[in-house]
Amino acid sequence: MDRRKSLKAIGIGTLSAGLLLDACNTVEKKQDNAASTTEKAHPDRQPIEIEKDKNLNSWTFFTSHEMATITVLGDIIIPKDEHSGSASDAKVPEFIEFIVKDMPEHQVPMRGGLKWLDLQCMNRYDKSFVDCQKQQQLEMIDDIAYPGKVKPGMNQGVAFFDLIRNLVATGFFTSKMGIEDLGYLGNVPNKWEGVPEDIVKQYGLEDVTFKHA
């Protein structure tokens, strides 16, 4: 069904439809060159915001070694599976590079945490984290991935892993790949008629009405 017909089908008037078609077109164009979106001047941005993003993109925070470590960690946290790709497939390391510049409070915990991890690995395996064998990497991560059973001396590692796990998950599940994996169906013009009957029944909520509330 073409978009104009589908809009008509869901009962949106001509005026809204015209506006929406523009809106939809904009979205599509943006997706085509997603890489350059931050560079382009958006009409919805203030000059101070355009300048800010330009500045943030003009320098690099993480060293190439740190980025390599983030990439390996990211793919351990969110690996490829039968539904979708890995964190690095969704360009999560690039997101983390941006976000730590945007939110400077993450910079020391990330840099220091990566250093902490490398030193642990040097002491245990005589190698930096990225140079360890996969099995060694996972042994290391097992010591910091479970806040409920922390060995003595590992607390700082647990705090670091908490942070990077959150950044990786946010980066992945807000990417196009991650949003599709989750099955988010919104952000499109539609008509909201309430929770479908079958779902209401599934949870036994047939009797929930405002009269009873």
């Binding site: 005026l15 506006l19 919805d44 203030q46 101070i48 351990i76 980066g171 949003i179 539609n190 949870y203």
Partner: protein, 579 residues
């Protein structure tokens, strides 16, 4: 140097309006449509939701995935420019008290950021009989016709409930609840908390007689402003239509310094600095209407001192800036474990509230005056920055697909699956209540500090008392009861006396009102009941500042109704040649 000059326009407007938010926008709309020549000054840039909204962008179209910045305090897609701090425009605080001041310098002001939750003050909000709250000089019956007109002009959804202090309006059909919201309704009923359909200014039906505005297409993004003009923003619903009359001129980026007065004490116009060229300008008008926001309006009046007005314009009462009020706010969030692995549906619905908990309790049995309402929400929204933060904290507490418990946290395929399983099961509830009007909660001019335009800035003094703290405690107890009855797990940190039960700092709820309160006695109020200054008959205030005592209801609908009423009063006074 030597080239500094003040550019004075010789044109005399009928009315100059300072500010383009709900108050200024409505006054401009009414006056321009009545043929009055209006000049509107806005301290920020032009903004048209049809062209400038971020509506229908996905999170990945923001490099920070929609996260907040200092320049945009409610996230990268929110329509409102500005935040709690604006570069070059400081404010200060006195005696270690707190007040956080959110400003949005742009066409439409803070109507670009608000929940579109649209509530009338009730009869007991205007005329409280609790022996504690001060009464307004007007009654609900006097304001009702204006609420009715605002409903018809702008559009609002809701249901007729016939509750004593929650007046019904002229409603369109409300949106249906989302799945987690059905659980909230069930839990609230069991906890004895009344829940009714939400009331919001979103067009769920075509607005009769209006060809410029479309109807809601349920993207749930009102906060980004609506390209179809299907929700209320002052820009799309008031100022842009007023511009089309040809009777309203708008100057953007015009930061007002002071109101100018003559030797008789009458307002003659305003002076402003243009942010575009940093030059000084003066414009003349027969009447001045301030709608700059409660605190900015007080700032302009206090900065407009003259021989006749040594304490600031129209401030013989000494009350300009006093009785500043913000709503109380406290909240909790949680997840519904029974919804793990729920079926995917498009649950964006509207960007305001689907269900609402009005205040129904009797204060005689409580240890605080007045009350609060509850705003509920939850559902399968677009994942944005911060997504899934609670998943590694809770995945060890709930059985997996295999029915077994595992160690919480983790990584890899099993964690990735947990994010899917936990998606769309979260909800939140937030109380918004009455902050009592007190003379010692105020803003004043800081004697030492100016902003980058050389304008003296505001200094705030605001403290909560046991009235508000006990109310927040009651909110938390109510939320906990509802969450328990829902069979849900709280995800927000527990609150207690150590953090005033999660009571937000004054200013955080962005319902600032008071500062130029209305009243019949000029010694005890700044404005008369028409929002006209007692001391200066051609000066009017149309934002939240005339509020005597706020209600738990969000202020916007009342600001709109009172601004419309004041604009009609101005028309009447012009007819009688009084101004």
């Amino acid at each position: 140097m030597g080239d500094l000059q003040i550019k004075k326009s010789s044109k005399v407007y009928d009315v100059v309006i300072v500010g383009s938010g709900a108050g200024g926008g409505m006054a401009g709309y009414v006056l321009a449509n009545a043929g009055v020549k209006v000049l509107m000054l806005e301290a920020g840039p032009f903004f048209d939701p049809a062209k400038h909204s971020s509506q229908l962008k996905f999170s990945y179209e923001s490099p920070r995935r929609g996260a907040r910045t200092k320049e945009r305090g409610f996230g990268d897609f929110d329509a409102a420019f500005g935040s709690w701090e604006i570069d070059g425009e400081p404010y200060t605080k006195k005696d270690n008290t707190e007040f956080d001041w959110f400003r949005s310098r742009m066409l439409g002001g803070r109507t670009n950021h608000w929940g579109r939750i649209s509530l009338r003050f009730g009869p007991k909000d205007f005329q409280p009989d609790d022996g504690v709250s001060e009464r307004w000089p007007i009654t609900y019956e006097e304001v009702k016709p204006y609420y009715d007109k605002v409903d018809r002009l702008i559009g609002i959804y809701g249901t007729v409930e016939g509750l004593p202090n929650e007046p019904d309006g002229i409603f369109m059909k409300p949106p249906k609840p989302r799945l987690p919201e059905l659980f909230i309704m069930k839990g609230a009923a069991a906890a004895g908390v009344k829940v009714i359909p939400g009331r919001g200014s979103v067009l769920t039906e075509a607005l009769p007689g209006n060809k410029d505005r479309g109807t809601c297409f349920y993207c749930g993004q009102c906060g980004r402003s609506c390209k179809a003009y299907a929700d209320f923003s002052s820009s799309s619903c008031l100022v842009i239509p007023a511009l089309k009359t040809g009777n309203l001129e708008l100057i953007s980026n015009a930061m007002v310094r002071e109101v100018l007065t003559d030797s008789n004490g009458l307002a003659t116009g305003v002076s402003y600095v243009s942010k575009d060229d940093m030059q000084e300008y003066q414009v003349k008008a027969k009447a001045v209407v301030l709608g700059a926001s409660s605190c900015e309006t007080a700032r302009i009046m206090l900065n407009s001192a003259s021989k006749i007005y040594p304490n600031g314009l129209a401030n013989s009462s000494g009350l300009v800036g006093k009785y500043l009020q913000d709503s109380t706010g406290a909240s909790q969030s949680g997840i519904l474990p029974q919804l793990l692995d729920r079926k995917r549906i498009n649950e964006d619905a509207t960007g305001t509230i689907n269900i609402y908990g009005p205040w129904m309790l009797d204060n005689k049995k409580l240890d605080f005056p007045r009350g609060y309402h509850i705003e509920f929400g939850g559902g399968m929204g677009m994942p944005g920055y911060g997504f899934g933060g609670y998943v590694p904290k809770l995945n060890g507490k709930l059985p997996g697909r295999d029915g077994k418990l595992k160690e919480g946290g983790g990584y890899g395929a099993s964690l990735k699956d947990d994010y899917r399983r936990f998606y769309g099961i979260q909800f939140g509830m937030a109380g918004r209540g009455v902050g009592m009007a007190r003379i010692d909660n105020y803003c004043e001019i800081d004697p030492k500090v100016v902003d980058k335009y050389g304008i003296p800035v505001l200094r705030f003094h605001y403290k909560w008392t046991s009235d508000e703290i006990n109310q927040a405690k009651h909110m938390q107890e109510t939320f906990s009861r509802i969450i328990h009855e829902m069979g849900a797990i709280p995800t927000s940190a527990p609150h207690g006396p150590e953090d005033m039960w999660g009571l937000e700092a004054p200013g955080r709820i962005i319902h600032e009102v008071g500062t130029t309160r209305m009243g019949d006695d000029p010694r005890k109020s700044v404005l008369n009941k028409w929002c006209q200054a007692h001391d200066c008959k051609n000066l009017f205030v149309v934002d939240g500042a005339p509020t005597v005592q706020q209600s738990d209801k969000n202020a916007t609908w009342t600001i709109l109704a009172l601004s419309m009423r004041t604009a009609e009063y101005i028309l009447e006074q012009r007819k009688q040649q009084n101004i």
